[in-house]
């Protein structure tokens, strides 16, 4: 009998424990007319600290609630579980009114065809602000309007070039000063400077242990190719889509890099080291030049250790025609792939939802999303928005943590327009200086925009490119390391054509032409 009782109590405990697992948050469906609540599914940004329940705790969103009168019910899966939750929600058919996701990468067209999200242009009379913004900035429109003239999501836009720039050439200004050298602007000047770094002992320890240039992988080192008007992957030559390796100036570029490696001017470890090792070489006074991210972290770390340490962003180097060309794609990514909001077919009042999302592109909306609440987080001085001490000089929290709590566009998790005026205030002086140097006068016309492929095109490209990139990356690295001569490029070109490169270029060109011809008036 005792045995039976114990068994029963165990079973009851088990049942109780299991029943808790079934509890889940219910989602409220909005009422039929003008809405006062809306449900949004969005990734939980890492910048939302634990104490904040959801984005309603961020100043920008509080102001937006005041402006629009719409309260938001957030469903925020953490970044690591986002895909799973997203797939589960789609599979269950139980969608929130709005879903914020990387729609471009996911292939929004697919979801529209399957009846999950709506074409926002059906409600275009309800989005005057967004239409006005698009008319004022037609260069962005090609990115978010689909090739068959639909608008399937509201995008996150960075209005100014500087906001896109976070990567570029960095050099030890103090080494240049010590050796009495000018900042290099061409490939020949760069070669001379690197040679001087190697031979003239700028770190002053009496040993020739300097590694003039370091980098991470072929992409870090490959930016040297920009000086020869070429690049590792696909880019634009006028209106033609080209693949770097097939072009003639690629040969010159690779020879230059191979020469640097051979003469010991390029770090032998670039092939396998990671960013931590690379940065370590800079902070250990071994390396003098690299292509990397803006130097805030490194500069802050070195400020106490060595007051002479100056790692600065130098202007992007010039090509033969004297133009500062870059093919680093981020520079041209003004419309971000993430943070885009689509409205689902489950939304009971899509017109109101469109109106609500549209308010994030109005003048007041953009100001609120960038600066927060007037009087509290910013004030207006001479027509300019200035952050208050609460944000910039808060004794309890760092500037970047205050930005997390204040500016809704600081991280791209919800669609609106990010302005350099607000973003720049969150940067350190080191970062801001580097970014402005890199953005100044840089020609980004050769960067291939993020074009859309159809599903069959995507599959074909993936199939060919898996082999092609394997072969191309391997050959390029072997040439730089001196294992193969530069003439191996000719063989590589033939091999790649055999692997179907012509097909791939045709697909890319067709996709680009479609993109270019997108009708942006709606």
């Amino acid at each position: 009998m005792a045995k039976c009782k114990r068994l029963v109590s165990f079973v009851l405990c088990g049942v109780m424990a299991l029943s808790f697992a079934g509890c889940d948050k219910k989602e409220t469906t909005p009422s039929s007319d003008a809405i006062d609540t809306i449900s949004v599914f969005c990734g939980r940004s890492a910048s939302l600290s634990e104490e904040m329940k959801d984005y309603n705790d961020v100043a920008s969103f509080q102001k937006m609630e005041e402006l629009t009168g719409v309260k938001v019910e957030w469903t925020l899966p953490p970044a690591s579980g986002y895909d799973e939750k997203f797939n589960l929600m789609i599979a269950s058919g139980n969608y929130t009114d709005v879903i914020v996701s990387s729609w471009k990468a996911q292939g929004a067209e697919k979801f529209h065809k399957d009846g999950i999200i709506i074409n926002l242009l059906d409600y275009k009379e309800h989005m005057p602000n967004f239409m006005a913004y698009t008319e004022a900035h037609p260069e962005f429109a090609k990115d978010y309007i689909s090739t068959d003239g639909k608008l399937l999501y509201f995008p996150y836009i960075r209005e100014n070039l500087e906001s896109n720039v976070f990567y570029g050439p960095l050099m030890r200004q103090d080494w240049l000063d010590k050796l009495g050298l000018e900042v290099p602007t061409t490939s020949e000047e760069l070669y001379q400077v690197l040679k001087a770094f190697k031979e003239k002992d700028p770190n002053g320890n009496g040993e020739a242990d300097e590694i003039p240039m370091t980098g991470v992988g072929a992409s870090g080192v490959g930016l040297l190719l920009n000086m020869f008007s070429t690049h590792h992957g696909f880019y634009l030559d006028g209106d033609k889509v080209v693949y770097g390796l097939l072009e003639d100036n690629f040969t010159e570029g690779i020879s230059y890099i191979a020469k640097l490696y051979e003469e010991g001017l390029l770090d032998a470890d670039y092939v396998f080291q990671d960013r931590a090792k690379q940065d370590g070489k800079i902070t250990n006074n071994k390396a003098g030049f690299m292509y990397s991210y803006q130097p805030t972290t490194i500069s802050n770390a070195m400020a106490e250790k060595d007051p002479n340490f100056k790692l600065v962003g130098i202007p992007n180097l010039k090509n033969k025609e004297g133009k500062r060309v870059t093919y680093y794609s981020a520079y041209a990514t003004s419309v971000l792939p993430s943070g885009a909001a689509a409205i689902t077919t489950a939304c009971k009042n899509p017109a109101a939802a469109v109106k609500w999302l549209d308010s994030f592109y109005s003048k007041e909306g953009i100001e609120a999303m960038n600066f927060g609440i007037e009087g509290e987080t910013y004030t207006k001085e001479n027509g300019e928005c200035v952050f208050t001490d609460l944000v910039m000089n808060n004794p309890e929290r760092s500037v970047s943590k205050m930005f997390d709590r204040t500016s809704g566009v600081f991280n791209s998790y919800f669609p609106s327009v990010q302005l350099w005026e607000s973003y720049s205030k969150s940067l350190s002086s080191y970062g801001k200086a580097a970014i402005e140097t890199w953005a100044d006068g840089t020609d980004i016309s050769g960067i291939l925009p993020s074009i859309n492929f159809t599903e069959e095109e995507k599959k074909k490209v993936a199939d060919y490119m898996a082999q092609i990139t394997t072969y191309a990356d391997e050959t390029v690295d072997q040439i730089i390391l001196g294992q193969k001569p530069v003439s191996a490029l000719n063989e590589a070109r033939a091999k790649i054509k055999e692997m179907g490169m012509d097909e791939v270029l045709k697909i890319y060109q067709a996709a680009y032409d479609r993109y270019d011809k997108t009708n942006v008036s709606f």
Binding site: I90, F111, D114, V271, V461, A466, T469, D473, E474
Partner: protein, 317 residues
């Protein structure tokens, strides 16, 4: 006296019931209840998902799900087999495994045999602990350390230079990859792998040794004639299991160690499919390759088992 030890059969001293299976299950229901969660785990998480392999024959689309994705038959398999790099990938996968079989497989056995001879117990235990610690270090850390050691200015080259040998390009010259990978494998796996052999060795009847000593056998002869034959069933099982994993070679360690300059020897099936997957979100393709690997592994397993039975008299099934 023959000692055809069959693994997993007659256990000395246990009562063998003569009732039917059902009656036994009722009589020892607590034991079967203990087994139930494990059995359910295997059924739900291993056998049922096998039906998902059907996506290897479809053009699976996540929005349309399994039932509505287009059926394409063997398209992915042919695309894989016709891939320009297929033979290279297969060769690299098999070579890494071959090196493993030749060098990394015997290493724990040798260690176990050596440790078996050690009389000083504290020494034996400390060697055991030290050798199995690397097993617990995560692959990321191990590979980071290895990259550091074999870099052009790293530890290994410094040591070589001290002996007057020129620095070798361990990480950028393809010919060194198999060696580096195998050494890392041995370093990480030798201690952990030796556990099972040490325990098998301790199960060998001491009388056999005594009897042979009386007959005048030297230590070496004892090792050859007693220890190894008694260890053979354990070795056979471990070998069969290892062969059964031949085509699914250690993906994480390779991804952390390789770079494009050494693709020619380090790019294996799983790393290539991974890169391809990133470009295209190719669920169906990876499922097809995975299925292909599993089928080949299974065939190898069956063959190895049959061979082992023929050669040593013991096998896994």
């Amino acid at each position: 006296m023959t000692s055809k030890l069959k693994m997993g059969k007659a256990k000395q001293g246990m009562p063998v019931s003569t009732k039917s299976l059902w009656k036994r299950m009722v009589e020892f229901w607590e034991v079967y209840l203990l087994l139930l969660p494990v059995a359910l785990y295997y059924i739900i998480f291993k056998y049922v998902p096998m039906f998902g392999n059907v996506i290897a024959f479809q053009d699976y689309s996540i929005t349309r799900g399994i039932l509505q994705s287009e059926f394409v038959g063997l398209k992915h398999f042919t695309s894989f087999l016709n891939d320009v790099y297929f033979w290279r990938l297969l060769k690299n996968t098999l070579m890494i495994n071959l090196y493993g079989l030749l060098f990394a497989f015997p290493a724990p056995i040798i260690l176990a045999l050596l440790l078996n001879e050690v009389r000083c117990t504290p020494f034996k235990r400390s060697v055991q602990t030290i050798t199995y610690m690397p097993h617990f270090i995560s692959a990321v850390v191990v590979c980071g350390m290895i990259l550091d050691f074999i870099s052009p200015n790293g530890l290994v080259n410094s040591v070589l230079n001290a002996f007057g040998i020129e620095s070798k390009k361990f990480i950028t010259d393809p010919q060194y990859f198999y060696g580096v990978y195998t050494v890392m494998d041995i370093w990480q796996g030798i201690g952990w792998g030796s556990i099972i052999y040490i325990s098998a060795l301790s199960g060998i009847d001491a009388e056999l040794y005594e009897a042979s000593a009386i007959d005048g056998a030297s230590r070496w002869q004892q090792t050859l004639r007693i220890t190894l034959p008694c260890l053979l069933p354990t070795i056979a099982i471990c070998l069969i299991m290892r062969v059964g994993q031949m085509l699914s070679t250690g993906f994480e360690k390779i991804i952390l160690l390789y770079n494009p300059a050494i693709y020619s020897t380090s790019d294996v099936i799983s790393t290539y499919v991974y890169r391809k997957g990133i470009l295209g979100g190719e669920y169906s393709f990876s499922a097809a390759v995975g299925l292909f690997n599993s089928i080949i592994n299974f065939l190898l397993l069956v063959f190895a088992n049959w061979f082992s039975k023929k050669a040593t008299g013991s096998g896994m099934f």
